[in-house]
């Protein structure tokens, strides 16, 4: 069975409309970064949830809900949380993850080690392949900024 984890995340091209699932992916990522920023600031500040709630003019259960995840966050939520926490203001930067050189996936080392040990211990078991052998990288290419990593059984 071929196992492919091909990604079709690609950079915007010309006048082509960006697919909605690509927007969904990067919106979720941006929210997650915002969440991590606000939570780290909150943890660093030593401010309690009760104090934060009073500063925000919100009840404790509402604050707990806000801090639990960025599900319904807006830019206003981020700004309010950071200012109420420490008087800070979020600053922004832009990363281009799809511009980074493609790197092959590396499975956990222990997975490789155990498979190799098993093969060494039972060389007669010819049908058992190490995971590296079973999942040879059959193609790694970059076409029109589309990242593709194909893993296929030998």
């Amino acid at each position: 069975m071929s196992i492919s984890q091909i990604t079709t995340l690609s950079k915007p091209q010309g006048d082509e409309e960006v697919p909605i699932d690509t927007f969904a992916y990067f919106r979720a990522r941006a929210k997650r970064f915002a969440y991590e920023l606000a939570i780290k600031e909150f943890q660093k500040s030593g401010v309690t949830k009760a104090t934060l709630g009073r500063r925000l003019g919100k009840k404790p259960d509402r604050v707990s809900k806000m801090l639990a995840g960025p599900g319904n966050w807006t830019i206003e939520t981020l700004a309010d949380l950071i200012f109420a926490t420490s008087g800070g203001v979020p600053t922004f930067g832009v990363a281009h993850p799809l511009d980074r050189p493609i790197r092959n996936f590396k499975q956990p080392q222990w997975l490789t080690d155990i498979a190799v040990q098993a093969q060494t211990a039972a060389p007669a078991a010819a049908t058992i392949q190490t995971v590296n052998q079973a999942y040879k990288v059959s193609g790694t290419k970059q076409t029109n900024n589309e990242v593709k990593l194909d893993y296929a059984p030998v």
Partner: protein, 184 residues
């Protein structure tokens, strides 16, 4: 099952570590090691998934589900990359937007990966195999689960029993389960 994988074999199976079991399942193509779409390299955390989940993550997505499935994939990538994860330890008191929550009964060691936006979201179920390493076995749209949440948890447990002789990993506290978390 591979009898030579770390097993003391005296006519009965006496011991097989979870790592050996996972290695065997990956070699048999029953489990797949997921990698992040963005980094593609060695990740901070590790996720093993069943084909069922790999299929859900494979593009192209169904048009009416594309947004939600893409958020699901992003969540798993963020987990792999070591992103901050909010964790609810009490299955009965989890905040609406917690990303990761224990499921009842907590002692069984199963967890719910919660994609909470856009509502009604997606739930995926699995268990830790060790620190920062999760085996994710089942998933479903939240509206499909409805009030059959416990049935969905049971389906995950059943999958686990089918695959593993070892029980899920159990840590003494959240520090023994994962890095970079925020308890909610």
């Amino acid at each position: 099952m591979l009898p030579f994988l770390g097993v003391a074999w005296h006519g009965i199976l006496t011991y097989m570590s979870i790592r050996n079991e996972i290695t065997s399942l990956v070699a048999d193509h029953k489990l797949h090691c997921l990698y992040s779409r963005l980094t593609g390299e060695e990740t901070v955390r590790t996720l093993f998934v069943l084909q069922e989940i790999l299929d859900a993550l494979a593009q192209p997505y169904p048009e009416d589900k594309a947004y939600r499935l893409s958020e699901f994939r992003e969540f798993l990538d963020a987990f792999l990359e070591g992103g901050l994860i909010s964790v609810a330890e009490d299955p009965e008191m989890k905040p609406q937007y917690a990303m990761l929550a224990r499921v009842h009964p907590a002692a069984d060691g199963f967890w719910d990966f919660r994609v909470t936006a856009p509502k009604p979201g997606i739930r995926a179920f699995g268990a830790f195999a060790e620190f920062d390493t999760v085996v994710l076995l089942t998933w479903e749209y939240r509206e499909v689960i409805g009030d059959r949440f416990n049935d969905e948890v049971e389906r995950c447990k059943s999958e686990w029993r089918e695959l593993f002789t070892s029980p899920p990993y159990r840590g003494a506290n959240l520090n023994e389960y994962l890095s970079n978390y925020y308890a909610v």
